[in-house]
């Protein structure tokens, strides 16, 4: 039985539906990341589960029980707010221990647990510090410890690493994943950052305009974006109109190989940058290099063909051509994805 189940949940703000008949399940000990651009309804989803927002239709089940009419404070979920919302008038220990006090945990037990959690998030002995004096990263950790303290059956994170700088973010993602694995916490997180989502989650749910655009394991979504929206949201822009016949597809870029078993007819194709290989001009689609972006271990090269949309290719640091060079382009079937829907 899944720990969390959403059944046709709809939330409207006036005419606009922030959530539109959303179905979602989260299994016990699973980490699910909801991914989507801002305004896609991610945060509303968390608020509905927490009981902070009423659903206009549909139901929310936790451990199989309908949560209709159950107020927030009885739902036993944890929620880490985007901007932490630490209580300014309480010190670190007071914040972390808040949920324990609400559950009438004994004083000694609560103190022990607070100390343990602060150790766990890397802030040992910070009980008496004022929250106003903490750095962003430290506030983050306190907020996490506070949310974990009452051992919620479901921990929800709203943009958990949103305001942190890049290196801290990357380190924390790893720490969090390790922590959740160790504690066996069930996690529902929302983020707009694909990297964060894929690094953290067992499963990823991509949302668009209040609907679920795609759900699957990180690998599935990454390898097989279900739609052009998902593809573009993941950062893939090599999308083109194609007519598939057999193992070939006709596009403005010329013939592109497609994986075997692709249904025939008019389709939209995605070619991942890794599947765009550079060759001598005469051996492929002739393009002009219009830009180069360094991505650490590789370079993304922007290519303009004679006709059709521009292309991105990923190549090794040493092989990257200069801006203005003329190159030929060939496509690798493994990296071609046929997109569904819009």
């Amino acid at each position: 039985m899944s720990l969390l189940r959403l059944d046709g949940v709809t939330v409207r703000f006036g005419e606009r539906a922030a959530l539109d008949a959303v179905d979602l399940e989260v299994a016990e000990h699973e980490t699910v990341c909801v991914l989507g651009p801002s305004g896609s309804g991610k945060s509303t989803l968390l608020r509905v589960v927490a009981g902070l927002q009423r659903a206009d239709a549909g139901r929310v089940f936790l451990s199989g029980n309908d949560q209709g009419g159950v107020p927030t404070h009885r739902r036993e979920v944890g929620l880490m707010f985007q901007d932490h919302q630490l209580f300014p008038q309480r010190d670190v220990g007071g914040n972390v221990g808040f949920g324990l006090r609400m559950r009438k945990t004994g004083r000694a037990e609560a103190e022990r647990r607070v100390a343990e959690l602060l150790d766990m998030v890397g802030l040992p002995g910070a009980q008496r510090r004022s929250v106003a004096a903490l750095s962003g990263g430290e506030q983050q950790r306190v907020a996490l410890a506070r949310a974990l303290a009452p051992r919620p059956r479901l921990l929800m994170l709203d943009e958990p690493l949103g305001q942190l700088d890049r290196s801290l973010r990357e380190r924390l993602v790893v720490e969090l994943r390790e922590l959740f694995g160790r504690l066996g916490t069930t996690v529902l997180a929302v983020t707009h950052d694909q990297g964060e989502a894929f690094a953290l989650a067992d499963r990823v749910v991509v949302m668009r305009d209040g609907r679920i655009a795609q759900a699957g394991t990180s690998l599935e979504v990454w390898q097989r974006p279900a739609s052009e929206f998902v593809a573009r949201f993941l950062g893939f822009d090599n999308v083109v109109e194609a007519t598939v016949s057999g193992e070939r597809a006709d596009t403005v870029w010329g013939k592109v190989p497609v994986p075997a078993g692709t249904p025939e007819g008019r389709r939209r194709l995605l070619v991942r940058p890794a599947g765009v290989r550079l060759a001598p001009v005469v051996d492929g689609l002739p393009c002009t290099v219009t830009g180069r972006t360094f991505r650490g271990d590789h370079v993304v090269v922007l290519l303009r063909p004679a006709d059709g949309p521009e292309l991105e290719a990923a190549c090794g640091l040493r092989d990257a051509p200069d801006v203005g060079d003329r190159v030929g382009v060939v496509f690798r079937a493994d990296d071609v994805v046929v997109l569904g829907g819009s």
């Binding site: 709809t10 929620l79 209580f87 300014p88 609400m102």
Partner: protein
């Protein structure tokens, strides 16, 4: 634990539709019920102790033999004498407001942006006049403007019985309103906004005009309207300093009611004043709402610094000079007189206060007893004001429709209502069991609380509204019920504001005179009443004791305000 609620769908109907709709309306109902519950006490309080008595006295005036006499309204309104009063009331209020702003705005800037030794003390001191009874202030002020006063001795200028005395006294009373309302916000405006404008090429003045001024305008407007309200309804100042030739609407209402018992005329004048005050409050409400719009506020402690350069020192100096001349001198003169005994300077009058009662009752009141009475009344009034005002502020926190805003304005109305009207209203309404409170001591604190409540609401509301709703949500998610969340989150955050509100209500009721004197009460005079009685008798000892008691009253007020300065919150509203 997850509870299976009876309202969970058991009929197998699809989850969409009626169930959730009714659920929503149920929640809506519950929220309305909570708000109504919160508003019940303030509404009952204002209904019984304000609306009902005032309506009763007005309708008694307008009803003759059971018929409404609306013809009276027309007669009174076109009476040229009344027209004269209305005109004077309005223009002196306008002039007082303009003068107060002109003199106090530089003060607001200096208090907001400069750091100088004794600043906290000075801020408390300039607020003392605001809570002092006019009987005390009148005599102190004459020492500055009247015969043999400071101005007379220095330059031979005498301003008593001129309109200038009224205007300057109004500045004296309301200086703190502007300094606190405008200065409070000014101190929290982020100076970097102005710096950003300077970097973008605006000159110093242009940057101020384009960035700071628009941010301040609503606060200035709110302060101006409050000053206008206070001066429009001015009573004691006009009576004591203006002489018989000047009369405001409030003075006229007093005369028609208390002296001439011409209730019809008084009723019409009360209505006229109500209309004027209501209009003011509506305008005020608008500007305050606009003021709550998002401004980038920072900790006031970070924006103040020591003045630099000749110009800034000169500004500080001139503001201090104005404060000294206008606020400090009258207070100092008052204090000096209390020491100026028959045998030269000394504690003779204070000793007389302490030994009163031994002389076989020749004294008007046992003055130390009056201090005790004042403190007891003020404490009771503060308690009532904090409960009523606190609940009202809690109900008003979640901003909502017109009704709630109307309620907000209703709470302010007593500030613009004549004490005579309220006092006489009490007399004819609270006269039967179970509400025959006319002979009870509680009537005085109740009347004082009417004046204290608006201050409590005004102080608490901005703070309550500034509490981030998501903090309550965070508490709820962590397992706190709504009540618990309020206790754990709101209460600690507003605790200081509550203390400030209570302190202000305390100081205001300590100095309250009007309502106290028009209510028949068992003989336990408060400080202001005792001062008035002492002043009302001939003889040096009585006069000296009046000065000594006034000084004590002043010190108690100043002490209360100084404590407030210490606990002042960052967003402690307008006062």
């Amino acid at each position: 634990m997850v509870l299976d609620r009876p309202e969970v769908d058991v009929t197998g109907k699809p989850p969409q539709g009626p169930r959730t709709a009714s659920g929503r309306s149920r929640q809506h109902l519950r929220r309305t019920a909570v708000r109504l519950g919160l508003m019940a006490v303030p509404l009952a309080f204002f209904g019984v102790f304000f609306a009902y008595p005032v309506t009763a006295i007005v309708s008694r005036g307008l009803k003759d033999g059971g018929h409404w006499q609306f013809g009276r309204v027309g007669e009174v309104v076109i009476d040229p004498a009344i027209g004269h009063v209305l005109w004077f009331t309005t223009w002196q209020a306008l002039a007082s407001t303009a003068l107060t702003l002109a003199l106090a705005l530089p003060g607001a800037y200096v208090f907001a942006r400069f750091d100088f030794p004794g600043k906290q003390l000075l801020r408390a001191v300039v607020t003392v006049p605001f809570v002092l009874p006019t009987v005390v202030v009148g005599s102190a002020f004459l020492a500055l403007l009247g015969r043999g006063g400071l101005l007379d001795e220095l330059w031979g200028v005498r301003l008593d019985t001129t309109v200038w005395a009224i205007l300057l006294a109004h500045v004296f009373f309301n200086y703190a309103v502007v300094v606190r309302t405008v200065g409070g916000l000014w101190a929290q405006l982020d100076p970097r906004q102005e710096e950003a404008a300077r970097v973008l090429g605006a000159g110093r003045l242009a940057a101020w005009r384009r960035v700071t001024l628009p941010a301040l305008t609503p606060a200035v407007a709110a302060a101006a309207l409050m000053v206008f309200l206070f001066t429009f309804t001015s009573f004691g100042v006009v009576q004591i300093l203006g002489g018989p030739r000047y009369s405001t609407l409030e003075v006229e209402i007093y005369q028609q009611t208390a002296q001439l018992l011409d209730l019809p005329t008084a009723a019409v004048l009360t209505l006229v004043q109500f209309v004027a005050v209501a209009v003011l409050l509506v305008v005020h409400g608008r500007t305050v709402r606009r003021r709550e719009s998002a401004l980038k506020l920072v900790d006031a402690a970070r924006t103040a610094r020591r003045p630099r350069g000749a110009a800034q020192w000169a500004l500080l100096g001139s503001v201090l000079a104005v404060v000294a001349l206008l606020v400090l001198v009258p207070l100092v003169v008052l204090t000096l007189r209390s020491f100026d005994g028959p045998d030269g300077y000394g504690l003779a009058f204070y000793r007389a206060l302490a030994s009163a009662g031994d002389n076989g009752g020749t004294f008007v009141v046992a003055p130390l007893e009056a201090i005790g009475n004042s403190l007891a009344y003020a404490l009771a009034a503060t308690g009532i004001a904090v409960v009523v005002g606190g609940l009202a502020a809690a109900a008003l926190t979640r901003r909502a429709g017109r009704l709630v805003r109307g309620f907000d304005a209703l709470l302010m109305l007593p500030l613009g209502t004549s004490a005579v009207t309220v006092g006489f209203g009490f007399l004819i309404t609270l006269d039967e069991p179970p509400l025959d409170l006319r002979t009870s001591w509680i009537l005085v604190p109740l009347a004082q609380a009417l004046v204290g409540v608006p201050f409590v609401v005004r102080t608490m509301l901005p703070v309550l509204r500034a509490v981030d709703a998501r903090l309550r949500e965070a508490a709820a998610v962590l397992g706190a019920s709504p009540l618990r969340a309020w206790r754990e989150v709101d209460l600690p955050l507003v605790g200081r504001a509550l203390a400030v509100a209570a302190g202000f209500a305390f100081a205001v009721s300590l100095g309250e005179f009007g309502a106290t004197v028009f209510i028949a009460r068992p003989d336990s005079p408060t400080l202001p009443v005792a001062v008035a009685r002492l002043l009302g008798r001939p003889g040096e000892l009585n006069y000296g004791q009046a000065m000594a008691l006034s000084t004590i009253l002043m010190l108690v007020c100043a002490a209360a305000l100084l404590v407030l300065e210490r606990v002042r919150t960052d967003r402690s509203g307008e006062f």
